[in-house]
């Protein structure tokens, strides 16, 4: 893919007619096609390398924390809560915890990337290059999805060592993994653009993302909630991310699967519209 993109850019440069007076060996301005592939790829790579540079904090730490949660829940509740629905409690817990880590890290990646760039002033480095708002958003969101999926894969592999669980519907797992990390990456971009200081992002993390990820069925089946909370759970997109992802592993879900797929798609479309609008109008970035 890299080679293909490079070649693509090279061909464009090569076909470029030289302005008069510029001799061989000097290239003219590069003409980008409908999509600036090189720019998009560069931004994406920058986003990925940004978190890989501190891989201990961005991948290893969340995996360790998630494993600790897993250990703690099995120690504290293992004796009392043996099953959730018809599966062993630990098998039920594994996908939920994994999804929780994915959600938190997808959000953390884009929100911190955008906010740090804003605070440090190097946001101009991504606003100046010839990147459209769509390319900008795709690059940022791609970085968030990548981090979320990496954390998810590492967590699953680590938990798999202790608790054997099967794979019921791989496509469900894939769809919900990508849709959920995309949703949180988009929320992270919107949050990072909106926030003016680190407190704002910390507040969104502490009071919105973490509570929603915690309380949306990571640790329990929804029927354990009081009646009116169950209604709230069924309009909460976080619930569908965890529920659908878990269905892919254990073949059992709390909500309706079709509704889950639709809600994820609808929420993502709405968030794309919001983020693209924010970028196109330059809200808090250019204004």
């Amino acid at each position: 893919m890299v080679a293909a993109l490079r070649r693509c850019g090279w061909i464009m440069t090569g076909m470029q007619p030289r302005p008069p007076g510029i001799g061989p060996g000097v290239t003219g301005p590069r003409i980008t096609g409908a999509v600036n592939w090189i720019g998009l790829w560069t931004l994406y790579r920058k986003e990925v390398e940004r978190f890989l540079k501190v891989v201990m904090q961005t991948i290893a730490a969340p995996v360790v924390t998630t494993l600790l949660f897993f250990a703690v829940f099995s120690l504290a509740l293992g004796g009392i809560v043996r099953t959730a629905g018809s599966v062993p409690f630990l098998v039920f817990l594994a996908p939920g915890l994994t999804m929780m880590a994915m959600l938190q890290n997808a959000f953390a990646n884009t929100s911190s990337s955008v906010l740090i760039a804003k605070v440090q002033g190097n946001i101009v480095d991504v606003l100046m290059p010839p990147l459209s708002s769509v390319e900008l958003a795709v690059g940022w969101v791609g970085g968030g999805i990548t981090r979320g999926l990496l954390v998810g894969a590492a967590t699953l592999l680590a938990i798999r060592v202790f608790v054997p669980f099967g794979l019921h519907a791989p496509l469900f797992v894939l769809y919900h993994a990508v849709a959920a990390t995309m949703m949180l990456a988009l929320i992270g971009v919107a949050g990072g653009i909106w926030a003016e200081k680190f407190d704002h992002v910390a507040a969104v993390t502490n009071f919105v993302v973490t509570p929603l990820a915690f309380l949306s069925g990571t640790f329990y089946t929804i029927d354990r909630l009081p009646e009116d909370w169950q209604v709230i759970a069924h309009v909460n997109p976080f619930f569908y991310t965890i529920d659908g992802f878990r269905y892919g592993f254990i073949g059992q879900s709390d909500g309706t699967l079709g509704i889950g797929l639709a809600v994820m798609a609808a929420v993502n479309i709405a968030l794309w519209v919001l983020v693209l609008r924010m970028l196109a109008t330059g809200y808090k970035l250019k204004a």
Partner: protein, 287 residues
């Protein structure tokens, strides 16, 4: 050189002449007693103000996440919550969570402040102040302990009505909390001295403190751990801190209280000696 001439600072204005009739009598240097109390108080106030300035993150955030932990455990227990076993799980977890948030904030407040000062170069302001190394260390330790206690109080106050969890021996609870907070503040000072960048701080808390605390009887009795770990955690001072605090709040404890207090006191004294020595040597401060 023209470049230098361009950027040279404007010449300083001549010193203002003293008003006639007013003789500038040089003030004698302020006499300091054996302990520079005012300096210590100033530093404590500065550190505490720094911690409380970000109160949504440093006070409300931990309170919310502790309540979330508790809520999640309660919901995961589901119908078992009403049973004696379920009740026991929640009363076991609650006091531990309070002390855990106190200790984490005590340690982190000092580590964050120290690494920030070191990286920004502001540490010179501290080193240039007329404070002895022991005064510097004492002020940081006291500020950290106070910061932790300030954080823990709302959590405790929130838990009392929710769980009907009034401390059995309030004075002992306060003493254990204060001693544990002091211990962690000194640990935080040590970690802050050692750390050279933010990654180090994240590693200390993410890969050392958090796992040890999680397994040191925070959520489940140490006896519930698998074979080598159940005796290993008894080497961790955090185990004794959590156990003694739980003993003071609920009346049930695994280790004798005198032993817990002795371990806490001993660890605090050792950490104090280490911090004092390192600050005097200027380890990672003056080198």
């Amino acid at each position: 050189m023209p470049v230098e001439a361009d950027t040279a600072a404007a010449p300083l204005p001549p010193p203002a002449p003293s008003p006639p009739g007013l003789v500038a009598a040089p003030r004698p240097p302020r006499a300091l007693g054996p302990v520079h109390w005012r300096g210590i108080a100033t530093l404590v106030r500065r550190e505490l103000a720094r911690h409380l300035r970000f109160w949504p993150e440093s006070v409300i955030g931990p309170a919310v996440s502790m309540l979330l932990y508790l809520l999640v455990f309660a919901l995961a227990l589901g119908p078992d919550r009403a049973t004696a076993e379920g009740e026991a799980v929640l009363t076991f977890i609650a006091p531990g969570l309070v002390l855990f948030s106190i200790m984490m904030q005590s340690g982190q407040a000092i580590t964050f402040s120290l690494i920030f000062d070191k990286l920004e170069g502001m540490i010179a302001d501290l080193l240039a102040a007329p404070l002895m190394p022991s005064e510097l260390a004492a002020a940081h330790a006291a500020a950290g302990a106070l910061a932790g206690l300030v954080t823990g109080t709302p959590v405790l106050l929130a838990l009392i009505p929710v769980l009907g969890l009034a401390p059995v021996r309030p004075l002992l609870a306060l003493a254990v909390a204060a001693l544990s907070a002091l211990m962690m503040a000194l640990f935080g000072l040590l970690a802050g001295l050692w750390a050279k960048k933010w990654d180090h701080v994240a590693a200390v808390y993410g890969f050392a403190v958090l796992p040890v605390a999680f397994l040191s009887g925070l959520f489940a009795p140490a006896d519930a751990l698998p074979a080598p770990l159940d005796t290993a955690v008894r080497a961790s001072p955090l185990f004794y801190a959590l156990d003694a605090f739980r003993g003071a709040v609920t009346g049930a404890h695994a280790a004798p209280l005198w032993l817990s207090l002795a371990v806490l006191g001993g660890t605090t004294a050792l950490l104090w000696l280490a911090c004092n020595r390192l600050v005097r040597r200027g380890y990672s401060l003056k080198s």
